[in-house]
Subunit: 114 residues, 2 copies
């Protein structure tokens, strides 16, 4: 018999990937604002990861890799003050609307690996 | 003065994202083969993450999120037996060639967070 609580948490874990194209003159501003968002987001109880990546072949392209323990935790992120500040700060710095994709997690299934 | 060894490791960390579209009748086979690849890949000394995700809106679309401590570690992955088995197994199950993107890591900068 497994642990039903852990199993429930695993089944609910999700990842949201957000692709962002930043205006050339705002790349450093964007990084600074998003690192600030990262620093607060990882403190959220339901946030498992909040990685900021920069495309190795195009420094104006970024990806956020956000993992949450549930859809509710992902929704709660969008109600935080740091998310609102980030969104309002970076909106005009984007060369086009950001593109998000929602994923279910196949592996790792162990929450401690997140 | 920081720790020059840790700093070097941080600067070298990378993420490779691979997007894969699987033929409809091979989705479960693909998951099984890729979980097997995951189980071996995370044992590689330079592999920091090897997440397999399934698109929540299209179960035939997958993403691999592979983090390595260096480009050399990423290259070493492609020389492993489990990578060769996976590649040869899944090639004919893909609806189109897989699409990889290489990223540099902005945050988290602490290797222990990976």
């Amino acid at each position: 018999m497994g642990d039903p609580i852990s199993l429930t948490i695993y089944r609910n874990m999700i990842v949201n990937c957000v692709k962002i194209q930043v205006r050339p003159n705002r790349v450093e501003d964007f990084k600074k604002a998003t690192v600030a968002n990262h620093n607060e987001s990882v403190k959220e109880p339901g946030c498992l990861r909040f990685d900021l990546l920069q495309d190795a072949s195009d420094p104006e392209k970024f990806m956020l890799y956000e993992a949450y323990e549930s859809n509710e935790a992902a929704a709660a992120h969008k109600n935080t003050p740091h998310y609102a500040v980030w969104r309002d700060t970076v909106t005009d710095w984007m060369a086009q609307p950001r593109l998000g994709t929602n994923y279910n997690i196949v592996v790792p299934t162990d929450k401690s690996k997140w």
